[in-house]
């Protein structure tokens, strides 16, 4: 496989995703029309009562006096030029709002992905090596508990124990808003704030990956190629690390790619508990405000993220398993 084929493959995959993203946008646009009430009523409601003329004036400004189809077409036309529109509730362009929230979200998801995959895979690996011993049972029971505990509860408990009782970590937020650190001190500060939310969000996925990794390891170890390897005299350590581990990892990587979408969803709870300024909270707020421009922008961005991550997962496959050919 040459570099050009991989490049071509990526371009072709990206082109294939265009109809997917378009479908997501149109479907969401139409679904949102079904929600009762609109932004104008919410704005008037927040104002504690406003004359009807004011509400009509608002609707006209938002273009909500137009038929749905006209609204949809003009939205798509703007989207084609990467103009995501204006959030009238937040008085700012949607793109600016999204970009401001994107990096905290990527930071939290990135750290969660790394932590949950590393620890999850390690736990699964160890459980498989110690299969049917008390250590295996201990790991499995822990995984089930992590899997079953609600995220918000874990988050609050971590705050109570490690923030209020021990005073090791800040309760919430992304940085210290009294000190306003700069430079390297700011990086350390943000990392400090990142610890509890990452642990909370990792718990669930860590359990998932651990269980999957354990099952996958046990399955691979029973396969013929392992027997062959053993027969030709390879040391057990090398069999596990070079052969079994690499093959067992494939389903975990697949799962991690699929779970990425749900990671975006799960982060709403964690962002809310830890006041983390990510996309999830923004989506939640704009839904309740019927801020459809902003909401559609978030859906569009999330769709793009999921598509890109799936592409990355496919490329990682190739690197992990030379038998898999692209194209």
């Amino acid at each position: 496989m040459g570099g050009t084929t991989l490049g071509k493959y990526i371009i072709r995959r990206l082109l294939q995703t265009l109809p997917v993203v378009l479908g997501v946008v149109v479907l969401n646009f139409l679904l949102l029309q079904l929600a009762p009430g609109d932004l104008a009523t919410v704005l008037a409601g927040e104002a504690g009562g406003a004359p009807k003329e004011y509400v009509d004036q608002l609707r006209q400004r938002f273009g909500q006096d137009q038929p749905v189809l006209v609204q949809l077409l003009s939205y798509l036309r703007n989207l084609a030029m990467l103009d995501l529109g204006y959030s009238f509730r937040q008085s700012a362009p949607v793109l600016d709002l999204l970009l401001a929230r994107l990096w905290p979200t990527l930071l939290l998801m990135g750290s969660t992905l790394v932590v949950s995959l590393t620890i999850g895979v390690a736990m699964g690996l160890l459980a498989a090596l110690w299969v049917k011993t008390w250590k295996d049972h201990l790991i499995s029971v822990a995984a089930v508990i992590f899997y079953a505990t609600p995220l918000f509860w874990i988050g609050l408990m971590l705050i109570l124990v490690f923030s209020i009782h021990f005073d090791w970590f800040p309760t919430s937020g992304m940085e210290d808003v009294v000190a306003f650190h700069e430079g390297f001190a700011r990086v350390v500060d943000i990392a400090h704030h990142l610890v509890l939310p990452t642990i909370t969000l990792s718990m669930f996925y860590l359990a998932l990956y651990a269980r999957l990794m354990r099952a996958s390891m046990l399955e691979q170890r029973g396969l013929d190629y392992v027997t062959t390897a053993r027969a030709k005299g390879l040391p057990e350590r090398q069999i596990v690390t070079r052969h079994v581990f690499r093959n067992a990892l494939l389903p975990v990587v697949t799962m991690a790619g699929i779970q990425f979408g749900s990671l975006l969803g799960g982060s709403v709870v964690v962002e809310s508990v830890f006041a983390w300024p990510g996309l999830g909270q923004l989506a939640y707020q704009s839904l309740f405000a019927r801020d459809f421009n902003l909401l559609l922008g978030i859906f569009f961005l999330s769709a793009c993220l999921v598509v890109i991550v799936n592409l990355v997962v496919d490329v990682i496959y190739v690197l992990l398993d030379p038998r898999i050919r692209i194209g």
Binding site: A35, P36, G37, D38, T41, V42, L43, A44, G45, E46, A47, G48, G49, A50, P51, K52, Y54, V55, R61, Y86, F88, R89, Q90, S91, A92, L97, A100, R101, P104, F152, L156, I159, L160, S163, I164, D167, P170, T171, S172, G173, M174, V177, V178, F180, E271, S272, V273, F274, A275, W276, P277, G278, Q281, L282, Y284, Q285, F288, A289, R290
Partner: protein, 528 residues
Amino acid sequence: MRVMTRSLGLIAVAMALTCGSAYAQKPGGTLVQITQPEPPNLAPYISTSGPIGQVTAKVFDGLLEYDFDLKPRPALAESFTVSPDGKTVTFKLRRGVQFHDGKPFTSADVQFTIMDVLKNNHPRGIATFREVTAVETPDEATAIFKLANPAPYMMAALSGYESPMLPKHVYGTGDIKAHPNANNPIGTGAFKFVEWRRGEFVRLDKNPNYWRQGRPFLDRIVVRFISDASTRTAVLEKGEAHLAGFGAVPYNDVKKLAALPSLEVTTKGYEMISPVVEMVINTKKPPFDNVKVRQAINYAVDRKFAIDNVWFGFGKPAMGPISSNFEPSGLYGKGVDYTVADRVERANKLLDEAGFPRKADGTRFEMVHDITPYGEEWQRFGEAVQQALARVGIKATLRYEDVPKWLKRVYTDYDFEVTSNFLYNLADPVLGVHRSFHSDRIKKGTVFVNAAQWSSPETDALMDKATVEADAQKRGALYRELVAKVTEASPVIYVHELQFPTIINKQFKNVIDTPLGIYGNYANAYRE
């Protein structure tokens, strides 16, 4: 009409004396305030969404400020004079005041703010400044309001929270409704806007050129946004934030926080807001068109139980649409007392008379009770009312929807029977009370107005008279008559005067020093 010439000089001297001792306060410190939810924008001149004012009242000044008895005191206006006929109000403006960008504040800014912005775009300003026909500016330090009719209520609505003074040279260019400075406010206030990191905080730094000498004491205010209620409690407990009000902390956590040595809890600072918990009855829908049914429900509601158990004691029974916070200004009046000892018997009797005898299963009729979607305590309140109504044979079903859906149901479709609600009395009954039952406020599609769709020619006339009556005593008499008539007809059940607990870290003093509380400017707040 009596002459309302009022020099504020004396008050100013008194202020200077009381504040003189405060010069000993040492400057410095960052106050972290929790505001819930995050404001949608920082444009208080086009939106009155609650959280906006909690931030912008520090950035913008008004012409006046107010004492706890709701009497005005000087701010950007050093004094004002009301003409004998009540139709001309002359403001003498403070000289040498600068906006945060260094440009001077003049009468042209007042004219622009009132005539071009608030009168046309501010959701409440449309009503507040309805009578203002022109603002004349004979010189830079004089602004003369010309009114079509006297508007005594206007004088209570000139704070930096309610009517912020904007710089004409900034907001005068471009579309005021989508202005680039909507999220980058520039005013004359004690604190300058520095940064808004969405989902995190707004940062306000001390204005070194503030017109009050030696103020503000604090270096910085940071307003944080934390959507989870339990986390807000934890943050206050740990001292990472120092101040929260307006229900930002759940009532069931307030007791726990109040017990901590580092925190104190106050219910002061809501005197110009005066929220009243109520139940709006759709008087066009049988059987609620029957006054006896409405009175029966009114008697059936157990106010004391709701206050003690749902609001953990924060509140007191309401005796009518007007809050007792108006007692010092003479506008308060008590109506029919629905809290009498034999209220359950009275309710049963009224329902019998109305033609709804108990059926074999003990019930009389069924109804749907909509819950106002502004927090969990309203569901508990709904359950409390449900039990109280069951006692008199009314079977109530609770319905809980999200904000846009509820607003549409109640104020656009009128598709409800009874809904819980809470409305602010605001700075004057004209602004906050008339809207609930005046005939000209029965407006389909307009939220927080007369959804009960009840009115009467007598009560309309009383309100119209009180609107233009400049004499406080005569106004008080009109309102007492109004309250008696409205509570008798019972289109809205006034349950109780809601008290919001404000939690303050004891390191900080003098934070809540006006009836606007968290909507104040914190110019006199300091850290010990």
